[in-house]
């Protein structure tokens, strides 16, 4: 049985990983708890917003016709007929011609008036108010329903809820919010060379970095990491750990197995329980990546080296986690900066180079791909496409910020 497929291009890997994302479940959650979660239904305004014609300044409600031709030297002279208070109903001020009513910012425009003169351009004298500017009909007013009409869709399914969205949910009275369930992502670290973080590694052993790195990344994307710890590179131990993770999670990330033998074992166990869809991506670093399904659950084999694993998470696995979360937001617009140095690359694979983005442009941080120090010193990645031989100094390059 051969589980070795051809190395696929990054674009193809992304298409395949998106295709295996399970459809997320739905639940209701209280408004105060849903920051960063994803809407599972369209939300409509239950009322007009604002619910009344609202002044956007502190000033005097006027009939705009009364201020026609008004100026510094010939102000319109209006009789002050009253004062609106915040939250007060407007009917109390009928507003005959030649009068005005004080209205605070956010207050309701009294009936019979059509504009509000800012206090900065008015001069109250006893029960008279001099208005020193002409006003247009509707000036300094937001009309009832101008922001949102009752029944209008205000937020769409798949929206990742940030502070602005949370504000809009409050505005439309959505106190219990339909959201997608948070996906549970199992994390296994495989390798006979691994020791727990609490130990000092001897000989050619190394600490288990990937469990923590993957877990932190999974959280950053709004998913729940479930750690299954270190698993030895033995078929039975690995099979058992994988079964455990499959039973409790919506997807499983297996990190490690960086040598060819270990990768083969990982792929063959996945194949046994399901299907290996990708075994090798034309990406550097990150080539030895496995995309598969086992028992209906996506199982991703990440490269053993933390720097490579992180780039694969950021470039490929992100699409799986977002899709599983129900996130349909477009993501940030690509940012382009000038390359301040040449960035050579090999044709035929996408190369992701760690860079330092400065106000002047982008500087590549070279060094062997397996280093952590360039990973933490960099603040982004530049993608050199598979068809290109590299980037030349002065070229505009797209940057993925960390």
């Amino acid at each position: 049985m051969s589980v070795f497929l051809e190395t696929v291009l990054v674009e193809e890997a992304i298409t395949r990983i998106k295709a295996i994302a399970p459809v997320p479940g739905k639940e209701l959650a209280p408004l105060e708890s849903v920051s960063g979660r994803v809407l599972s239904e369209d939300i409509r305004a239950d009322i007009d917003i604002p619910g009344f014609d609202r002044s956007v300044v502190d000033g005097y409600a006027v009939k705009s016709a009364d201020t026609s031709g008004a100026g510094e030297s010939v102000p319109a002279m209006l009789r002050l007929a009253g004062k609106m208070n915040m939250g007060e109903k407007a009917a109390s001020h009928p507003g005959p011609t030649g009068t005005c009513v004080y209205v605070p910012t956010g207050g309701e425009l009294p009936q019979g008036f059509d504009a509000v003169a800012m206090i900065e351009y008015c001069e109250p004298i006893g029960d008279l108010v001099l208005v020193k500017r002409p006003l247009a009909n509707g000036e300094n007013i937001v009309r009832r329903g101008e922001d949102f009409h009752a029944g209008e869709t205000v937020l769409k399914t798949g929206c990742r809820l940030g502070p602005r969205d949370i504000g809009v949910l409050a505005a439309v009275g959505c106190n219990t919010v339909p959201v997608y369930r948070v996906p549970r992502i199992g994390i296994l670290s495989t390798g006979n060379e691994l020791v727990p973080v609490t130990e000092v590694p001897t000989g050619s052993r190394v600490r288990d970095i990937n469990s923590y790195l993957c877990s932190s990344y999974v959280k950053e994307l709004g998913c729940e990491p479930v750690l299954y710890g270190i698993v030895l590179d033995e078929r039975e131990a690995f099979r058992e750990a994988l079964e455990n993770a499959l039973a409790g999670c919506n997807a499983v990330l297996i990190s490690g197995g960086s040598s060819k033998d270990e990768r083969d074992m990982t792929a063959s166990v996945i194949q046994e329980r399901g299907e290996v869809l990708v075994h090798g991506i034309a990406i550097a670093p990150g080539k030895p990546t496995i995309i598969g399904k086992a028992g209906g659950v996506p199982v991703i084999g990440l490269p053993g080296h933390p720097a490579s694993a992180f780039i694969v998470l950021k470039v490929v696995v992100r699409h799986l986690l977002n899709r599983m979360s129900g996130d349909q937001s477009a993501g940030h617009v690509a940012m382009k900066y000038t390359a301040l140095e040449n960035i050579p690359s090999m044709k035929g694979r996408e190369e992701y180079v760690r860079v330092l983005v400065t106000d002047h442009g982008v500087v590549p941080l070279f060094g062997k791909s397996g280093l952590l120090n360039t990973l933490v010193r960099s603040n982004g990645l530049v993608r050199v496409p598979a068809g290109s031989e590299g980037v030349e100094e002065g070229d505009l390059v797209e940057v993925i910020q960390w």
Copy 2:
């Protein structure tokens, strides 16, 4: 007693708000819980990383001198003297001239060898291996300590811990992490016009949006929001609510009080208990912002309208929250895009215009400043400096992404 100061420029407001940030406390927290938190001490490597000369490829450890002049047609012929396993100690393979040893990716370079030939360029024949490329000393090897030396600082105080940093903490065995305490930020919404989100507002009442919007923003910046609910615009009620919040929090955000009378009341109560440092910022929207201190605790009065409040949070209050969190990261590099339309502005105040950033450039979303719909439709803000009359089509503008 006058509590009215001159309107200050945004830059000045930021300087003053940073100056009142309390110094954060410190605590220790387990590695698996510190994603997104801020380091309170420099972290040093406890060991060399890697702890041994490590192969970055699957291949054969060789003496580079043995491969001198090797090529496709005249390969170097080496005797296979053994196989390194992951995590195995290296001493077992002494490596006389003319031999090689199989090493997996991440495995230790056996003693006596100085390079690793990738399997792609080798052909094993029985117990011989043909190496078809010459290798340089050190090729495909990361030397002991090349990534980090024992004792070297790997992460600095003030670092906001992302997945890469968490990975580095694991690498250096930092299982209990020194972090700053999470600041508790009290949130009060004031206004007689406010009703809870669960109610349908009648007349000119509106729902309390800002409690939720502020709370979500505070969380986004890694702080803990503490909601004190709706407070009526009455001096006594407000004073009592403020005292409660001061007692339980490291800073207090008071949203609302959008009319002049309410702002005056807020400022005067803060003045009574401490000091008003800024009363009015030359920013649009967001002018009626108060920066003060009461009982030693920063107290910020935000504009009542949610859209204005959010812009003040993003442009000014962010600096307070980051400073209180101990966050010393530089933040993202400014992103510049081409303006696709003119953006007019009034001289003398900084104007923040909501924009839609597309792949082609930036489109301003005009409309009255008090609208929520432009806030959620936009994906960023363009700052038009106080000294400028606006932006012209084709100008390069700086964008703050939401």
